[in-house]
Amino acid sequence: MGLTSIAEVAWNSLLLVLSWPNILYPVVGTLIAMCVAVLPGVSGATLLALAIPITFGWEPLPIMLLFGALVGGATYMGSVTAILLNIPGTAPNGATVLDGYPLARQGKALTALGCSATASALGSAVGVVVVLLSIPFVAQLILHVGPPEMLVLSIWGLFSVATVIRAKPLRGLATAGLGLMCSFVGLDPATADARYTLGTLYLQDGLALIPVFVGVFAVAEVIDLMASGRRSIADEVGLGGSLLDGARAVFQHWGLFLKSSTIGTVVGLVPGVGGTVAAFVAYGEASRSAGSEGCFGQGDIRGVLAPEAANDAKDAGSLLPALALGVPASAGTALLLAALQTHGIRPGAELMTDGLELVFVLIWSLFLSNLLTSLLGLSFAGPLARLTTVPVRRLAAPILVLAAVGAFSYRGRMGDLWLAFGFGFAGFLMKRYGWPRIPFIIALILGPLFEVNLNLSLSLHRVGRIDLLTHPSILFGVVLLVATVAFPAWQKQRRRRS
């Protein structure tokens, strides 16, 4: 299908989405998603699971409209908690924490929120454009992403995240390693042998991501707030900055914005890995290109701009592997596929050609949802930013309760609650003694992908289908890895000398 035809289908789909009463679905879906996404542990994936049985008798068009909004609507709230409370709403928001929270501590929460909302909305637009241009060849491209490629990308993703915290790359690698080991807890996927389960039935299910995530970030942050003796998050600094400064920063650094959005979309195309690490890759690239001029990790506005642009840009891209090849990029897209399957909408060539209009309806609905959440987010940014001046003694208990509810409501098991608080204790100690938590969580997410693809790659090597020693992806991966690890070290050496 040529670009002109694709553009025509895209345009017609946009008009369809904006028409009455179709426009109601993304608007209502977004509002529902935003309200519910405040609760930790209730994500876009949960909303889709709830929506599937409700939409059984619906036609494909409203289904796509609603689902696009539910997937897109939850993203922004994760950035808000990342900036204001140092609690990323989802793993990809972990990159926003690195500079967003320091900005809030400096009393510039409004600036960070303004930058986040603007970068998100515009990044989403760039994502749609890049996706539009990639559709003619994306299916073929993704088809070439097999087990060796996924292995390389998951290792690269782990290293990128582990070394993005420049001050302590070795510790980042160590906590990433611990995260990987924790991801192996449970039953071995190939043989069903129990691993590291301490003989308990609970651990045979593995370490559930959401309770661990809630614990390592939310619970740990509350303990830290209570222990720190600070009066409030912004402490004596008070509330400063402005939404306009934040929004303006996106245009001032328009080159970085475009680069980050493109990185987000392209990396987001990679099944499984991309959605998780896109924001970190963008952050790492922004930090690298700023060099000695930047103060990344200490409240550099570019450290909010880059991951936020990438995070929303990736949403559109991460739909394509799911729709083109049935390979989901995340829990959310897996449920999207499940929903589509129950309605007889099968991913693959048929959907990407005859059903392209539906694909674009989904993408436009997602984009609209991102736009709406950013606009609404800007409207509420003022009151939200004041959270940073609320006394800690009033803030701590509600956040802790929200965390407990989030951890428990995932599966209704008390074990998850204790898991969350256990990891909360560990997360607090990690924060206090300088062991990065983000690589731990990213490794926990990427661990199963890493293991499955390593096993598959070794098996394919054993049967002679690939040669791991000379496979182009492996060689490219080694080069990429060396560049990811060695380049920052070389830059650091150069700075020291000069």
């Binding site: 088809l143 449970g186 996927p189 190939a190 043989t191 049935g326 829990a331 897996a334």
Partner: protein, 334 residues
Amino acid sequence: MLGSRRNSACPALRRQRISWLVGWSPGGGYDTYSRLMEAPLERALEAEVVIENMPGAAGILAARRLSAARPDGRTLGILNGVGMMLAPYSSSRFAPQLETDFTVLGRIVANDPALVTGPELGVTSFEEFVARGRQQPLVFGATGPTTSNVLLEVALARMAGIQIELVLGFPGSQELFNSLLRGDLDATVVSEESIRTMAGLTPLLRFSSAHGSSAARDEEIPELLGEDGMIARHPELFVSAERAAADAEALSSLLSIGRLVAAPPGLPAELHRCLEAATWACLRDEGLRVSVARARRSLDPAPAHEVLAHVRASRHAVAPFADIVKRAVERANR
């Protein structure tokens, strides 16, 4: 009236929350059937059904959880019947027995698997496939060691005298298809309905004669058994046509067990009776039939006693296959 809107089949479960365990990720066949059954089952039980995906170890993780759950009717699940028959012979330390570790409530659909190859192998018929397999080892892919696709691949290799290498651990049938298209694999066995819309793949052989309300069963794919089946028409393709026919019958019986609705063992008699009735009502629900057809899937319900008869009849058939499967899996995992 059982399963009607007015009377719940199980008064004890009315307005309760029931967990429905699925041992595979969202989007696959087991998950799709579960979501299609959610609404009719809620109608039949007047309860709330909540689907919980627990992928891992080809469904064994969820099967373990289901088997260990309290027998109070609040935990149900969907099982891979063939996988449960094979599990006791696997190296897994948890070896569920279908008859004793679960309460079977009914069958949703019998397995209807087909052998499929990719474009890189360059064969267009089963005859060419066998000829190729006798010249060089063919690489087959499967999801887990206790799945029907491993069993069928290994059994077919023995019947036709072809050499195979197994690659295990693919997360799902979509990843298997993509590997076929890339040329990483030569062939695989998946459910026939899964391959209907996957362009570029060539179905070569169907293993069972399962029917049921199938949306669009491809009648052009040759079958293994029957008067017009591959064994009858081309006995030269098999090491021993007689033995191949016996094996194929045994496999067909095994495949009839299909995808099952199950509960933990030890249900009180009344609860057992009413859950069976509710499951049967759900599987015969007209709304389910329509939505299954819309999802381009098949429905071939059978009541619990019929399923258990197949299980008992197939019990003796599993052991000889289990041995060759175990050896093939050990070789794959070395």
